[in-house]
Every structure is written in C-alpha cells, then in structure tokens.
C-alpha cells in the first residue's frame, strides 16, 4: 500500500507553492467548499505574483487579491453570491493591481477538462458572440481577442465555433469533506469542478475537514471522485473553508462573511484583517480558538449534518490523525 500523505498545512505550502505560479483553488462555489485556509497560509508565507485559476471567486481569492498576492486571475463568476460584490478582488481589478480574464461558469470546467484530457483545445458553443470572446484583459490591444477564445470550423458541419484554451495549473489546493490518510476523497454537496481540477492540475493538495479510516473509502468507492493516485499531500484542517460552508459539516458564517468582505474593501482594512485572522494563529487549535468555540458549535449545528451520518463511525480523532501525520512525516 502507498505511504500515507498527511502533511502539515505550512509544509504543504512550503513544498508545493512558489512565487509566480499558476495556482488553482476555488473549484467550489463562492460561499462553499473552498480551501480558504490554504490561501491564508500562502499569505503567511508571503507568496506573491500568483496567477489564480478560480472557477468562481471565493473568500480565498478575495483575500489573495485584496492583499496583493495574486496579480492575475481567470474566473467564471467573480462575486460572493448573495453576499454581494467581492470587495478585495474588485479593488484589485479597479486599481489595476490584478488583471482579471473573464470566462463563464461552464467555460472554466470545460477548460479544466481539456487540460485533464490533454486536448489541444475545447470546442466552445458558449461565450462566443459576446465580449467574453471579444475582449481580453491578458491581451488588451487585441480586438476581437482571438488569442483568448479562437474561432475554428467544426470539421463535420462547417459551422464556425469557438475554441477554449485548456488549463493545467501548477498546483490545485482542493477542499473536501473527507479524505483518508492517502488522499482518497469524498465530497458532500455539489462537487462543482473539483473532479476536473483534480485531473487538470500538475499537483494536487487535498485540504480535508476530517480524516477517515480507509475502511470508509472501501465502503463507498463510488463516492470517491478524487482517488489518491492523483494526490500529492493531504492536509487535515477542520473548518478549512470558514467562513464559507461545507455541506454536512458546517454552515456559512454570515457575520464573518460580511466582516471579512467589509475589511477587504480597503487596503488598511485588509492589513488589519491579515493581522487578526491570518497571522494570528499558530496551529489548528489556535485557529479554532480564533473563530471561537461558541461560534464553531453554532456553525456545526447545520441542517445538512445528516449528510455526514453514514460516515461518522470512521472519522479519526484529531490525536490519531496527528499520530499518523507524524508517522508519514518521519518516513
């Protein structure tokens, strides 16, 4: 059996990220399962000039953009759903500190699928005929911008269609609900584009809310949409998507969503946010203390908690995860 891949968050970021890389995450919806805590750690380690590949903006991209760590981004949706505009990203785009290339929410997974399959391009029947095709922030002088979404001829009908450029990000940090110590992962809720991203990225780091014994994985192999063979490392981090939600685990933290987005509206607010909510904790325990026990309990009392029931008996206690992580790291 392959060795366990449990790794600390800090070590995963040290080992698998670098300045200027193409970094993908956010293969979840803006208020859902995203590896937000991985973005916090990228900031703690002062990574910069990141080229962000985010199917949708999330609080992670909002933070990376607001703090100036991401300077290029490719996205479908760039807001925060009912929480409104993403102030950090918005400020970075309006000031020119971040160049944002727009696609749609179908274009992004199609481009990831193209990367996953090693296709030269992906036929596009959406995004064509609009300014998503004609305008490019990466090639601003080009109009219509055919280096972004080219026009090609369908060899069977002769019809003019579009061609999407496939994506193969250097690294994907993918949030999942459950993973075993090897990285076999189960996602509760919509997987959005985490399946395609896990195959398109050159390297995948799994960030899991909980670690389960492999017996759980063997009980539900049909639900394991990310198998360990595509995974480099597994980071155990409860409430990793906070303040966003993780179906089955915890609800969206409405108050902190607003606090965070409010802070990211200004550079002073962002600095203060980074001091208080990014640089302030040392480990998982102090991260959870920062959120606060009372709030964690409230968020954990989610209406979707029943979704986790079939898996509960396999959840590994934190101490057991720590022991296995130590084993993995000393190998």
């Amino acid at each position: 059996m392959p060795p366990p891949k449990l790794l600390s968050l800090a070590e995963a970021v040290r080992r698998y990220s670098w300045d200027g890389m193409q970094y993908a995450s956010g293969a979840a919806l803006p208020i859902g399962s995203d590896a937000v805590v991985f973005g916090r750690e990228l900031l703690r380690q002062k990574r910069k000039n990141l080229h962000a590949i985010f199917h949708c903006n999330s609080q992670q991209l909002n933070l990376l953009a607001g703090a100036g760590a991401a300077t290029r981004a490719e996205c479908g949706f760039t807001g925060l759903e009912v929480f409104g505009f993403a102030n950090g990203l918005r400020r970075a785009v309006e000031s020119g500190e971040l160049v944002l290339e727009d696609y749609s929410n179908l274009a992004m997974p199609l481009r990831l699928l193209g990367g996953a399959l090693n296709w030269p391009f992906v036929p596009a029947t959406v995004n064509i005929g609009s300014d998503l095709q004609d305008r490019s922030a990466f090639a601003p002088a080009e109009f219509p911008a055919r280096s972004k979404i080219a026009t090609v001829t369908d060899p069977f009908t002769g019809r003019q269609i579009g061609a999407f450029r496939p994506l193969k990000p250097d690294l994907a940090a993918i949030h999942v609900t459950l993973a075993d110590p090897l990285g076999n992962s189960i996602m509760l809720g919509t997987e959005w584009s985490r399946f395609e991203l896990s195959r398109a990225a050159k390297r995948v780091v799994i960030v899991a809310d909980a670690i389960v014994d492999q017996a759980c994985i063997r009980q539900f192999p049909n639900l394991v949409r990310i198998p360990e063979i595509v995974v480099e490392a597994v980071v155990y981090w409860p409430f990793a998507a906070w303040p966003q939600s993780s179906p089955g685990m915890y609800d969206v933290d409405e108050e902190h969503m607003r606090t965070m987005n409010g802070a990211l509206a200004t550079s002073e607010g962002t600095r203060e946010y980074v001091r208080t909510f990014v640089e302030s904790y040392r480990d998982v325990d102090s991260y959870l203390d920062m959120i606060g026990g009372e709030r964690l309990a409230l968020l954990g009392k989610t209406r979707t908690a029943f979704l986790l029931d079939p898996y509960r008996k396999w959840l590994l206690p934190a101490a057991e995860v720590a022991r296995r992580q130590q084993d993995a790291e000393t190998r």
Binding site: L29, F85, D102, P109, S130, A145, G189, T190, R194, R303
Partner: protein, 266 residues
Amino acid sequence: MSPTATSAYTRQEMMAIATGREIHDGELAIFGVGLSMLAGFFAQANHAPNLRAMTEGGVYGSTPVGGLPWGIECNRISTNATSFTSGLDALGCLVGSGRCDVGIIGAAQVDKYGNVNTTGIWDGDIGDAYRAPKTRLTGAGGANDIACGAKRFLIMVAHERKRFVEKVTYISSPGYLEGGNARARYGFAGGGPSAIVTTLGVLRPAPETNEFQLDAWFAFSSIEEILANTGWPLKVSAHAHVVPEPTAAELAHLRKVDETGALRRQ
C-alpha cells in the same frame, strides 16, 4: 420603493410573481442565485408542481428551506437534494446542450436587444483596447451559458434608467446581439430572451427585429413611468396591457419561499 397605497405587496414581489408566471409546469428550469431563485421556486410552489428545477451547481431535486439561500452550497438549498453533481453537468450537459427549457438571470445593465452586462461599468465606451472597468461587477457566472444554451430565458432587473441602455458597454450574456437573427451567426443551442421582467412591467421582443418593446405594466406603474425610466426610445406594443395583480394564493406561495423577506426589504 415601498408597498403602494393600492396594494399590499412590493414592486420586487410583483416582479418575482410576473417572472414566475412565465415558467410552465413540467419544464426543465435553471435559476441563478438570488431573486431569480425565489421567482423560480415560487412558480414551483404555486402553479408548476412538476417543474424540474436545478441550480448551476448541479444541485437537483431540492427546494429552499429557511429563506433565500446565500449561495448554491448554502444549507438552505443543500439540505433536501436528490442529486449532487457538478457545474459541468448542470451548465454543460443540461443547459449548454440545449436541453433546458427556461432559465432566469439578473442584469446590472440590459439593452434594447436584451443583451446583458454583469461585468463592469466603464466611463464611456471601452475603446479599442480593453481596460479595467471603473466599477467591477460580478462577471458572467453561469448566465452566459444560460443565455447561449437555454431554449428561452427571462431577465429580471430593477427598472431604472441607468440600467436600461441603448447598447450595453460589455456583453456578458448575449440577448439578440444587434437584433434580427444575429444570434444565428453563432448557432447557439438556445433561442434568446423571451421577456425582461422589471419592477415596473414586462418587455418582450418584437417579431422580426427582436427589439424589446413594452408589453405590460403593473397596477402600480404606468406606460409613462416605464418610458421615463428606460434609456432608449421604448416602443409600446399595440397590445400593451396591465398585468393582473398577485392573487392572495400567489402572494402566500411567494412568501413561503421568501421566508426571510428578501423581496419585502427595501
């Protein structure tokens, strides 16, 4: 906006109900997050019990509980689903493919051919070279895919002059482009916008030209008010009429879906 003297419902509620009336029983339908979700699920609760509703996240078979969901992964919409799949599945296999009957999208700006801008607000034209907008908005999201792929789609938008422009600065989601049969150039699977439902009335495309014209006003609005709040010389259909007010049953169904009162807040 507040409930008018002659009615006990808000303009936003009327907009949601008028939008919902465009949705028919048995259809395959996709709703964006926010007000369009309330309009769609109102239709399901009120007159379309066999509606096959979905969100772009591939969340199927669910109905919101506890009020307007904060987003697609919110517990309010993820708690009673019958299937969770993916964006590629919902927006690709079911919408981009041409299978979906109807979608509902929102707009920051809409023009006389039903083209929608949700990307940004620029000072004047963008010009030959692309430049960042003065005010960045939320981007296209799944609306572009719905506008290209759904058999028809509805646009829900507050009726304000700044939003109703002759030509949008940036087309995030295509309506009828330059009008007529311009969409045919791209062979979209979908047919285009069938109505723009606003806080004041309903606009529909004219035959041949596909230019949107005033089809109906609400009991609390008027042709004059709508013309004054539209940024192009809006034509009035020969059959323009007043939209029937919400029935008590409709209001009750809407307010059950809109438990937290998102449409009643001003």
